[in-house]
Symmetry: C2
Subunit: 299 residues, 2 copies
């Protein structure tokens, strides 16, 4: 578990940053917070999510924090580190919550002062809501936490990041390289959101809601989306996402071609493949996962 004597500063008290603050304070850790919105800081102080807070980039808080967690959008995170990263003192360990990694990790590691270590991570626990007032609805218990170390990271920092995830209560903690993470997230998360959004945008479906079965409801649940955040995530991972869209589109057009040519056998073959893959997926899900997968050596 995390060391009790270290002070944790959370920069960006949004949905996830706010939830981190709530859980860590609830477990007795010293948590401070910075957020540009004064109402958010007040909200967090009033509920004792944080014991000190500021709506400014507060040098005193940054200098005296032992651990810093960024709950900011990627672009804002990069800008913040560029402007105020020099305030962090050597020995500080830093992580984030970003849903994309390639554009974030190397630049942040380069910008931070010598002796300050950034170990990136991604708590896969987003929701369609945003802001600290919705933090209480976030549930880490069934969620994955992914640590994405680079060759610049020390075993100690990686261990701290995994301890953080364990303390926060994540179901599974895994390690991926930065590139593997972004490829994976392009498929299991971003492609799914691109599909749901496209399905919703394809036609005005309001008159059809009366007839909707579970299929449409399930496919479009994630079409409610925070547009600023998701535009960020998509654009930071655009090469991967475009590749995934193209692979998906090829499969869809193959199905369309089977329809157009009346190729019953071709359709049935696709249905058998999808059924087998989804059945394997269900079986895998039923197998209780190891709660904490040991870190594999990073290349």
């Amino acid at each position: 578990m995390l060391e009790r004597d270290k002070t944790i500063l959370i920069v960006g008290l949004g949905l996830l940053g706010g939830k981190y603050a709530q859980v860590l304070s609830g477990k007795g850790y010293t948590v401070w917070g910075i957020d540009s919105d004064p109402g958010t800081v007040r909200w967090a102080l009033d509920r004792a999510y944080i014991s000190r807070g500021s709506d400014q980039p507060d040098r005193d808080l940054v200098e005296h924090a032992d651990r810093i967690i960024f709950g900011l959008y990627p672009t804002v995170l990069l800008d913040w580190v560029k402007q105020y990263g020099s305030w962090m003192r050597p020995g500080t360990l830093v992580t984030d919550v970003s849903g994309v990694k390639r554009g974030v990790v190397a630049p942040v590691q380069q910008m931070l002062p010598r002796g300050v270590e950034f170990i990136a991570s991604h708590p896969m626990a987003g929701r369609e809501t945003s802001g600290i007032t919705h933090s209480a609805e976030v549930d880490f218990a069934p969620a994955n936490f992914i640590v994405t170390p680079t060759e610049h990271n020390t075993p100690e920092a990686i261990a701290w990041c995994r301890d953080l995830a364990r303390t926060l209560g994540f179901a599974r903690i895994t390690t991926l390289s930065v590139a593997e993470h972004d490829r994976m997230i392009g498929y299991v998360s971003q492609l799914c959101h691109a599909i749901a959004v496209s399905l919703m945008c394809a036609s005005d479906n309001s008159s059809l809601a009366d007839y909707t079965g579970d299929s449409f409801r399930d496919l479009t649940r994630i079409a409610r989306i925070n547009e600023k955040l998701w535009a960020e995530l998509f654009l930071w991972n655009r090469d991967n996402l475009i590749g995934e869209i193209d692979m998906f589109d090829a499969a869809l057009l193959k199905l369309r071609e089977c329809l157009a040519s009346g190729d019953r056998a071709g359709l049935e073959a696709m249905f058998r493949l999808s059924t087998a893959r989804r059945a394997a997926f269900d079986d895998k899900e039923k197998t209780p996962a190891a709660p904490d997968i040991p870190a594999k050596p990073e290349s």
Copy 2:
């Protein structure tokens, strides 16, 4: 409610036909059954889903039934009516459970003897399983039931079909024309299944199951599919489904174009539209629906 003195024959005791038999027998109606699989007929007799049954097209059962419900795939249904429809006696009311209507309704109405009336309907309560042994898992309580009359149908037959749905316990009973039904089903059901299947077929995703969040799980739940049935449903409605795929694909490619050109405003506009439409959908779902929408006059 349905008249107590009428004998109901169910031809095709699959997932839905079996469930119809279970519910109707459970409510005290006289239910007979025909299924080409002897094991299925025995299973239904053993559990008193039916009081008489045959694994042959049994002329005696057909002649003496007052109401006939077809639980067959469209192609099998057409073939059955062609071969044995002449056995039905005038006054018999007939319905089905088919998920597509255009290719079924007019031919069946034309083939049936004078005085036998086919009033088509679609219980939207399919599952990823099939066969009578899974019937008990089917739940009509939250499901839609759609009656699709034509100009050949009488108010009495339409009323009977709605009574049937009410007796079976469907949440909502609505009326659509045959063409409207197939257009609607092409979008809310078939396009969603085409997307889920394509997503599953697009790449071998088995190694990614470890990292999957709810998005991928929700989008691919319906990728487990009965390939024979769904090839039928897709091919009988191929023009509508191809049209829906093309509309969806245009939206997806627009999103891809925003990514490729780095058009943040374009992405955000799509996200806002999808969020607004899905929010409207959620609001509509929260409004308690009228349990039984009066039939509108058919054109």
